[in-house]
Symmetry: C2
Subunit: 389 residues, 2 copies
């Protein structure tokens, strides 16, 4: 259904702790995507910025309008889209809707967050606003605490061991080493993960993605605009985008070991395409906590409930495996500047489908890719499916 | 081009200082729009929330996801769109794009702001983030100060007098008295406007819209969904939506007495339709400051530069005039809960096109209506055009 929408170019900054301002970070990724699209002289119709909370993380507001000015894209329309850490994918979704509807031909998407300007405690309070105030945050709940509850339940229900769970961050760091833009460039081991500082029992520091600064960008275009840019051959098709919510507090949901919003969003996205989960050749799944990667694999339909770990143990989720997951390090090793993550996932899938992933991370000849991006603790999720042009 | 997108129902709370929480205010307007659409049992695909800064005005974050939960619309997709005080129109624009693209059939739009929870000084700081930090806010600039500069220039260039400018708030209050949801329910006079407390010379308190709490809501649907709801007859067609930015700081713009983003957005919106400015029968223009109503009238193409005041003086912008402007009181008298304003404008135009405006405010048999919503001080503007079903 969406076969006439293309990603013509992508860009990304290094993720980590960055010195530049949020607008400078965003500009850097955006200019790379514009350049990659051969669109330095093109007329953009719209700029969509995905950012969780630039106002409170950095003091800078009205960010989308500011970016249109800073990038020289006036009088393009501009808007910021916010859905917590799935903001990047939600911004991408608006761009796809604008192009597919004919309201725009060429749209710049920028996902950005700068989380290091304020202290950790203040940042944690901002992040806690995306979980339920009444049922969770008020009682001291944090995303990590909720992830720990989910991990405990999953271990109980499916017999997952601590050593098995540690395979997830080990793979993330192994891939991150080969991704020059990843925040963490060091390998780790099952023992190191197991014995790291406890964050929320059973999750240690290595089970949790970091707070980060960074930006990623993608240019979304119509077939006509992609042709005009001379970029059809290196563009990637947007095949489907699904977006779903779930009840705000985890206690109101049907299951602790499955995210209903992932199941629903994946269903919506696949329904727009002729692609099935088994056709996906490479995917980026939202591993804000290690346990989520296993749950994501199952919820998007790549393994049966409780069996994702079998695929992991057998190396199937490695770069050269049957269904490579988070080849560029995932949120854990690539880093997690919240509003940037969804666009970074899209950027990495676009590079994979072009055959231009970093050395050692390229999956063999992928045809279809998938991104999965979580906002809140599973209450706002976007799944997108891409195909080689 | 957009002829297959409909507004099937609308809702709005009273504007003013409200006791309820931001989620309760938003819920109240949303439930009215859902009820008005005969959609209490319908499956919504998406919720788009337009809000400038709920996080800093109220402490409540992740608002779109929260609204999907509170309204029982899970697993609908949800996103918040933010472009300063044009957030409501930008949210509406995303809904239109989602429906027109086929990504959604039925979308709830909620515009909301609660600005009274924090003190005036803190609120002013939040609002000042939408103008240029480097060139304006840092030097003590505020939106009112910029409006005063613009008013002085306009008076100098076109010979507008203080008495003439005062006709704008006088009309706003005259209409507001008849709008039961308006914040101000009292008439005023040229003398009262002229002699009220000075805010930024030459603008007095009556030249400035207030800070407000409130919400408005609209249901956007495909033709198919509107038919399924049995609402085609009372629906309004969305004919065009144009969205443009301008340079962030007013010193970088081509003119002080015209907002380039209005001219550009209006051009984009009219281009999607067969409607011309002279076909518009009723409009809601963003009169955050009195001088802007005159400039808006000219920029959307309803009068020549410098001549809007002629239409005002001759009564043409009154409810029974040739081109009624802000029949429900405008931002000045209806109130200006920033993220809600754009959706309130749409709600009021929908009621006009249905022939259901409040007693004494109904324009005679209007066929086409227009809304114009400003974010920043003219740097992010949305113009939408509507037609009777």
């Amino acid at each position: 259904m969406l076969e006439q929408v293309y990603v013509t170019g992508v860009g990304m900054t290094k993720f980590g702790t960055l010195d530049q301002s949020i607008t400078e970070i965003a500009k850097s990724a955006a200019l790379e995507a514009i350049h990659d699209s051969n669109a330095l002289d093109a007329k953009f119709d719209f700029v969509v910025v995905g950012s969780q909370n630039p106002d409170e993380f950095t003091g800078v507001g009205h960010l989308s309008t500011l970016m249109a000015d800073r990038l020289g894209l006036v009088p393009a329309g501009a808007a910021r889209v916010e859905t917590g850490p799935s903001a990047g994918s939600s911004a991408f979704e608006e761009a796809v809707a604008l192009v597919k509807s004919g309201l725009a031909e060429l749209v710049l998407v920028v996902g950005v967050e700068k989380m290091s300007s304020i202290d950790r405690g203040a940042a944690s309070k901002i992040i806690a606003k995306m979980i339920s105030i009444e049922s969770e945050a008020r009682l001291g709940g944090t995303p990590a605490a909720l992830a720990a509850i989910v991990a405990r339940r999953y271990m109980h229900d499916y017999g997952l061991s601590r050593d098995e769970l540690s395979l997830i961050p080990v793979k993330a760091h192994k891939n991150g080493v080969k991704n020059p833009l990843a925040q963490f460039q060091n390998e780790t081991s099952v023992e190191k993960v197991n014995t790291a500082r406890m964050v929320a029992d059973p999750l240690t520091l290595y089970d949790c993605s970091p707070t980060s600064d960074g930006a990623a960008s993608a240019v979304v275009s119509s077939l006509k605009a992609a042709k005009a840019l001379g970029r059809i051959d290196d563009s990637v098709k947007v095949l489907g985008v699904g977006h779903s919510t779930d009840y705000h507090a985890i206690q109101h949901r049907l299951s602790l070991t499955s995210l209903g919003a992932t199941v629903s969003a994946a269903k919506k996205a696949f329904k727009m395409t002729r692609v099935k989960p088994e056709d996906i050749d490479v995917c980026e799944l939202h591993d804000a906590f290690s346990i989520l990667e296993l749950i994501d694999i199952e919820d998007v339909g790549l393994a049966k409930p409780g069996h994702a770990i079998d695929a992991v143990r057998e190396g199937e989720t490695e770069v050269n495996g049957r269904i490579p997951v988070n080849t560029t390090g995932g949120l854990k090793a690539r880093g997690h500047p919240t509003g940037a993550t969804g666009v970074a996932q899209i950027r990495d899938i676009v590079l994979q489908l072009r055959g231009k992933a970093p050395i050692g991370l390229q999956v063999k000849d992928p045809e279809f890719g998938l991104t999965h991006n979580i906002g809140g603790f599973g209450n706002n999720i976007v799944v997108s499916i891409f195909g080689r042009s």
